[in-house]
Structures are given as C-alpha cells and as structure tokens.
C-alpha cells in the first residue's frame, strides 16, 4: 500500500461526549486520500462534537483517531500541535480573529510557521484570497464582511499552509442558496486543483448530493453510524427507512 492509498483519517472504536454524557459510541470509519467525506445527521445528533474530536479539540472517552497514521489522541502536547498544523479547519462563523484584518488573519500562520519574507507573505495572502474570490479584501476587518465572505476568508486562512486535509463545520449554514452553491463549487475546485482531502459536517442535502464522494450518517438514538457510502447509492438502495427518508427529502423537494 503506497502513501496515497493509506487512509488520511482512521477512527477506531471511538466513544465521545460531554462531561459524563455519551453522544456517540464505538465509531469506526476511515477517510481516503483526496476524498470529500461528509458527516451527516439531524440537528443535535453530535456531528460538530465528532468534528471537534477529530481535530483534537476534545479528548474522546475511548478509542483512537489517526491523522496521516499518527494518533492525535495520544500525542503529547507539542506533537499534537504539529499534527493540528498539518490540517486546516473552517468554522461555522469563519472564526476569524476580530482584532486582525483579513490579510493579517492569513499571514499570521505564514509569519509563525514559515521563513517567508514580507513580500512572499503578501503574495501568498493575495493568492489565497483570489482562490476564494475575495481579491482586494485583505485590509477589511472581519466585522465588515458578510457571513458568506467570512466563511470564504476562513477557508483562505485554513489553506494558508497548503494542508492536504481540510475540515469544514457546517459550511453552508446561514448562507443563501446561491452563496451555498458557490461554496460547493469552490470545494470541488480545491479538490480538483490540489487533491485536498475534505471532511465536511453538514445536513444540507443539496450540498451533499453535489459534492460528496462518501457520507456517514449519524443516528442520535443509536448513538452511532447508521449508514455509510455514496449518498446516491444510499438513497436508491438503502434498506434503512430512516436513511431513505432523510435523503429523499431532497428528491421530494425536487418533485
């Protein structure tokens, strides 16, 4: 198995939750290189909680998460920060640092982790902003941007160090259908151009059918994965009524 065939993320017997409350248990799945992998489920089922465990913000109750073959759960603090630096994350509201301009938000990572000169940093910032269709916005403060622009600026920041893996938390939430479709196109372009692996948490069915290679569906009652595979296959061939009902909301809407 060469490096490209190795899973980028492996989740093994993972049990997660808050305090003493278990949200999901015994989760097992993996994400392949270059894949657009979607974590799907109803509101409050634990999608974002799972994402926060995957990116190392919360420790799980049990189990392991391997990123590029290395455990983020058991890594010591310094190594864990290095693993975290190897991927990018875009948050629901963008999570841009409010006291810095859009450009400074992106350049912060380059200043901290690279030996680039000021000119090279400025050039890279401009490139990243062009990639997310925000040319000329580097001097804007985050408060001056719309919701969709903040998300795109957050994506530009997440891509600053050219990560091979990107996580998205509800990228389409709160966006109008046009902005949402634009963001989907951007995600597909990034994968096409850079081969980036993407893990996306969402319940936007439009997005799922347009961009997903594979999905896992989380079930709140079962506290686990109820279906896994290509969303179109699941819609047509799944034996699980809940899965079919959930996914067919889109086809019903289209009828």
């Amino acid at each position: 198995m060469n490096n490209l065939d190795k899973p980028v993320i492996e989740v093994k017997d993972l049990s997660i939750g808050y305090g003493s409350r278990v949200v999901m248990q015994n989760l097992n799945f993996s994400v392949k290189n270059g894949e657009i992998f979607i974590i799907l489920g109803g509101s409050g089922c634990g999608k974002s909680t799972l994402l926060k465990h995957l990116i190392g913000l919360y420790p799980p109750f049990k189990g392991d998460i391997l990123i590029h073959g290395e455990s983020i759960v058991h890594a010591e603090n310094g190594r864990k920060r290095e693993i975290m630096r190897s991927f990018g994350v875009t948050y629901q509201g963008g999570a841009l640092f409010g006291s810095l301009t859009v450009g400074e938000n992106i350049s912060l990572l380059l200043e901290e982790y690279t030996e680039m000169s000021k000119d090279e940093i400025n050039k890279t910032v401009t490139e990243k902003l062009r990639l997310v269709n925000l040319d000329g916005f580097q001097d804007y403060m985050p408060a001056e941007l719309s919701g969709g622009m903040k998300k795109r600026a957050g994506l530009a920041r997440a891509m600053a160090l050219n990560p091979r893996l990107l996580f998205f938390d509800e990228p389409s939430a709160g966006l109008d259908p046009i902005s949402s479709a634009e963001l989907d196109r951007l995600i597909l372009n990034l994968r096409k151009e850079f081969g980036t692996t993407m893990v996306i948490v969402t319940h936007e069915l439009d997005s799922i059918f347009s961009i997903a290679d594979r999905v896992i569906m989380l079930d709140k009652e079962k506290k686990g994965i109820t279906a896994e595979g290509d969303p179109r296959d699941l819609l047509n061939n799944s034996n699980n009524k809940w899965v079919k009902d959930f996914l067919s909301r889109l086809s019903l809407k289209r009828d």
Partner: protein
Amino acid sequence: MSRQRAPQLIEHVGEASIRIGRDCVNMLSFVGELSAGIMEAVKHPRKIRWKETLYYMDMCGSDALPIVMLICFLMGLILGFQAAVQMHKFGTDIFVADLVGLSIIKELGPLMVAMIATGRAGSAFAAEIGTMKVSEEIDAMETMGFVPCRFLIIPKVIAMLLAIPILTIFGDIAGIFGGFVVGSLKLEIPAIAYYNRTVVALTSANFLFGLIKSFVFAFLIAGVGCMRGFEARTDAQGVGRAATSAVVSAIFLVVVADALLTILFSMVGQ
C-alpha cells in the same frame, strides 16, 4: 422541618465545597500555564506579541490615566479633610502631610488604581476572551497549533505589569496633591512646609512597597480576567457572567494580597 433542612444544608455545603475545590484546581492549573508562558516569553522575548502588548498598555494605562488621577486626587483630598479635623484639635496640622503621603503611597494609591484597573481591564479581558470563545476563535487558534496563552494572556499580563505601576506613580502624585490642597487652603500650611514634611515622611522603601503591591495587583487582575474569560460558557449569558466573575474575584484577590503584603512588610519593619 429542621430535619428536612439538615440534609439540604449538607448538600449545599458539599456542592459549594466541590465548586470551590474545582475553582482552586482550575486556578492552580492556570497559574502553572501562565508561569510556563511567562518563562517562555522571558527566554524568547522576540516571540512576545509586542503590537498587542502596546495596544493593551494604551488601553489599560494611558486611557485610564484621567480617571486614576481624578479618583486618587479626591482620595487625597478626603483623607486630608478627615485628618485635618482631628489633627487641628491637637495642633498637629503639619502631620496631615505624613498621614496623607504615607496612606496614599503605601496603601490607597496602589489599591485605588487596582480597583479602577479591575473595573476597566479585568472585565474587558474576560469579556474579550469569552467572546472569542463563543465565536470559536480560541478553537481556531488551537487548531492552528498556537498556544492561546502566548497570544491572548501574555500580552495582557505584560501590559498590565508595565502600565499599572506607572499609573500608581501618577495616582500617588495626584493623591499627595489632594492632601496638599487641603493643607494649603484649609489648614493654611505654607506650601514649602507641606512639601518638606512630605519629603521627610516618605522614604524610598515606602515608595518601593507601594510599587511591589501594584505589580502583584496587576498580575492578579490580568490573570483572573483572562482565566474567567477562558472559563466563560458559550451561551448568551456566559460572557456577562465571566466579566462579573472576573471583577468580583479580582477585587477579592487584590484585597487578600494587600492584607498579606501589608503583614509581610510590617514584619520587615515597613
């Protein structure tokens, strides 16, 4: 009835004890993290975020200067008036200069500046970090591999450690001037006599004592403000509660530290 209340009382006491215990553990772990951060900053001063540090120095220092000067001046004035009434009875008017000078330099100057800084900076730090937590900026910082302590706490602590002692010096001057106004206008003490008496009464050790206090207060206010911000819950009331808690905790700790330092310095003869 009282039989029913007894278990409830025990339950409340137990819950409160657990809460206080947890708070102490959190505080200790925060102090540990902060100490490690400060050590790192001392070892690598170029890694300190100086731009942010200057911003917070401006916010906590120069922006607070007018209110600090006014309040300390009024404190000196009040103290002077209160002392003048009593001392005049014994014909010891000139000692108003000693009382005002020593009280302001050793006690009231550092304490009043600390109270103003708690209301302004302590609550602002808690609210700022709490809001960053709500908007997932802290999460973003962590996933970018940054240590939030370095970016969010160290600049604030350094700014406070530099700004508060300077503010205290200005506060001391304003307070002594308040006493001088009473001495000159009410007690009709000649300006030069009041000045000379103040110079005789105040020693460099008194001045240093006040400055050491202000350093400790600055550290406590900044530390508690940041800690409460990190503890903020991510609901609608979380940030408000964090700011309130920062002010209450900082005032409590400042007063406790003041008492301990006063006892300590009195033991070494100051």
